[in-house]
């Protein structure tokens, strides 16, 4: 399994939407390399015949009656928003160009 390097961390930070300074990238790359190295034995633990477990106690077909349950008012929904305008969340520009 490939080791994790500084360029990987920079790419991952971009995917995860976390801005990182050069110093942070260096430190994170070092720490993650150690962690990744310590978990790599996991990939050799189980053979192909072992099924994956996604949930410890799986439940299937969890449905409810198709009736309106509790809903928040617009005011409640917007109460924690950093910015709102006329009953809506106000989002910064999606595109870079004007």
């Amino acid at each position: 399994m490939a080791a994790i390097n500084r360029d990987d961390v920079a790419h991952l930070a971009q995917l995860a939407h976390i801005e990182m300074s050069a110093e942070e990238l260096d430190r994170m790359a070092g720490e993650l390399a150690v962690i990744v190295d310590s978990v790599k034995s996991v990939s050799e633990a189980a053979g192909d015949d072992v099924p994956a477990t996604s949930h410890p106690i799986p439940l299937t077909n969890v449905f409810r009656e198709d009736v309106v349950g509790h809903t928040f008012t617009a005011e409640q929904s917007l109460s924690g928003a950093p910015d709102a305008y006329e009953g809506r969340f106000k989002v910064p520009a999606i595109l870079d160009e004007d």
Binding site: M1, I4, D8, V9, L12, A13, Q14, L15, A16, H17, I18, E19, M20, E24, M28, E31, L32, V34, I35, V36, S38, V39, K40, S41, V42, S43, A45, A46, V50, P51, A52, T53, S54, H55, P56, I57, L59, V62, R64, H70, F72, Q76, S77, S79, G80, A81, P82, D83, F89, V91, P92, A93, I94, L95, D96
Partner: protein, 517 residues
């Protein structure tokens, strides 16, 4: 003051009796705890928010109902008027919920978690919100954005984590009960290092609606207390089916309180997990563990040894599954719907850049580490090798448990490999920090319930040691049955609760005890 000092040292069960007998009022009890918080929380820092007014109002309501008598008084819940603290990962109307993170500083939830609704229905005054590692990521509370909690046994040491605030609050007599959450040991390991009791119920046994999710296939809410019976009482308040959590088990709740009251281990088979003691465990931890085995044997239990060979992969698999799920769950903190928004210092103000700046400023180092690790484990080309393999390890761990429970009714191990370490000692070594959870993680991976109770003090440092009991899924009652027996045998040996040996934390009392250590 002496009276109040006695009040706050009572168990929740004893308080409930005194309240029902009207020997004391709920307002007196709640005020005694608020006074204690005011007196010692400057040193302990278990609370992020104290909810005095609402707690006293609820207490007054309980007192009024009791005073009026009649049907309403008779229908009061047994814990009505018994105060409780809530881990700040669980949302509450009327109090801020921060998850220990700057990104949620000052955020007020528009809804209550199901467990909080149930506390309110039982009329339990909520004393406040307790400190935790940011988004429950850590084993020491040092990753809280609001400063660490201090262990009441030694203020220079960690109270465990992530639920160090809840455990320390209970250990320091700032609350008789608290709620915690346990993803890899966050209820049990703080219980172990603070000399308190903590239970991780069966996965799905307690609704998680309103618990801010870290790793959805592992997270579980559970009780934190000073006695096994108190945890059973609280478990019974919060447990049971909730249609708002689609992982909530539809099974009716067993009578856990009865199990704790009628504890008996005669003829029971108790399995020592070969892989969860010995090498890597502190000598004092090992000694107290062996003594507990002897006590259980003396009470008629049969001690057998079981082997769980795949547990050696549990920690590694956990550190793939948990960050993967956490990175996905924390994607919602985008600086738009709630919490912090930080604008980049220069350049265009696009959503991408605002999100990057917000998450950079709002998340601490450990959260960033886990998000990056999770993003890595889930990325194309690595998914099968990492997340996929880790999920297979979960199957192997479940099979190990199945085989072990074919030989034993409950399993037993130390809760944590060491006693409380010094604040700062492992902060710069993430891997050393992760090792604290080596004995607690297997239960989360398999969804089985676990309980930690105090097993005594380690010889070398005089600090609390935790004993962990594990039961098959849906058999939480067994934990209370065995836990109550072991607790009473140990307390008979100690001549009282272990917490009687903890420092009092108030200056006057320290000098009167002559500075016991």
């Amino acid at each position: 003051m002496t009276e109040n000092n006695e009040l706050i040292r009572l168990s929740a069960a004893a308080l409930a009796e005194k309240l029902a007998a009207r020997e004391v009022t709920a307002v007196e009890v709640t005020q005694a705890y608020l006074d204690r918080i005011a007196a010692v929380d400057g040193k302990v820092h278990a609370f992020l928010h104290v909810n005095a007014d609402e707690a006293l109002a609820v207490a007054a309501e309980v007192d009024a109902i009791r005073a009026a008598g009649g049907a309403a008084a008779a229908e009061l819940h047994v814990l009505a008027g018994v105060p409780i603290a809530v881990k700040d990962l669980i949302v509450t109307i009327g109090q801020p919920t921060t998850a220990g993170s700057k990104i949620l500083e000052g955020w007020n939830s528009p809804y209550d978690a199901t467990v909080v609704e149930r506390l309110r229905a039982a009329k339990m005054p909520i004393l406040g919100k307790t400190n935790l590692d940011e988004f429950a990521m850590g084993s020491s509370t040092e990753h809280s954005a609001y400063g660490p909690t201090h262990n009441p046994w030694d203020l220079d040491r960690i109270p465990g984590g992530s639920g160090g605030g809840s455990a320390a609050a209970v250990a320091a007599f700032e609350a008789p009960l608290a709620l915690g959450t346990d993803t890899g040991g966050s209820i049990r390991q703080p219980g172990a290092v603070t000399g308190t009791v903590g239970v991780k119920p069966t996965y799905g046994g307690v609704s998680r609606y309103g618990a801010i999710a870290m790793a959805s296939s592992l997270d579980q809410i559970g009780p934190v207390s000073r006695t096994v019976l108190d945890s059973a009482l609280l478990h019974q308040v919060i447990g049971g089916h909730d249609p708002r959590d689609s992982t909530s088990l539809p099974d009716p709740l067993e009578d856990l309180v009865a199990a704790a009251r009628t504890g008996n281990v005669e003829g029971m088979k108790i399995g020592i997990i070969k892989e969860l003691h010995g090498e890597g465990y502190q000598a004092g931890v090992e000694n107290r563990f062996n003594e507990s085995l002897e006590l259980l044997k003396g009470a008629g239990a049969e001690i057998v040894e079981v082997s769980c060979p795949n547990f050696k992969y549990a920690l590694g698999a956990y550190y793939l599954i948990m960050p993967s799920e956490a990175s996905s769950n924390l994607a919602k903190f985008d600086g738009v719907r709630y919490g912090l928004r930080v604008l980049p210092e220069e350049g265009p103000l696009t959503i991408e850049r605002v999100m990057g700046a917000t998450r950079a400023a709002g998340f601490g180092d450990e959260v960033k580490r886990r998000i990056i690790l999770g993003t890595y484990a889930l990325s194309a080309g690595y998914y099968d090798a990492y997340y996929g393999s880790a999920q297979k390890v979960r199957t192997l761990i479940q099979r190990d448990f199945e085989a072990a429970f074919a030989k034993a009714d409950v399993l037993i191990s130390p809760t944590a490999p060491t006693t409380a370490f010094k604040l700062g000692e492992k902060l710069n070594d993430p891997l050393a920090m992760y090792l604290n959870d080596v004995a607690t993680i297997p239960a989360n991976m398999a969804g089985v319930p676990g309980l930690s109770l105090p097993g005594g003090l380690a010889d070398e440092d005089g600090l609390p040691v935790g004993i962990q009991l594990l039961a098959p899924a849906r058999q939480d009652a067994r934990l209370y049955r065995v836990g109550a027996v072991l607790e009473s045998l140990l307390e008979a040996q100690w001549g009282g609760p272990l917490l009687d040996k903890a420092p009092s934390l108030t200056d006057a009392a320290v000098s009167s005890h002559g500075g016991s250590h």
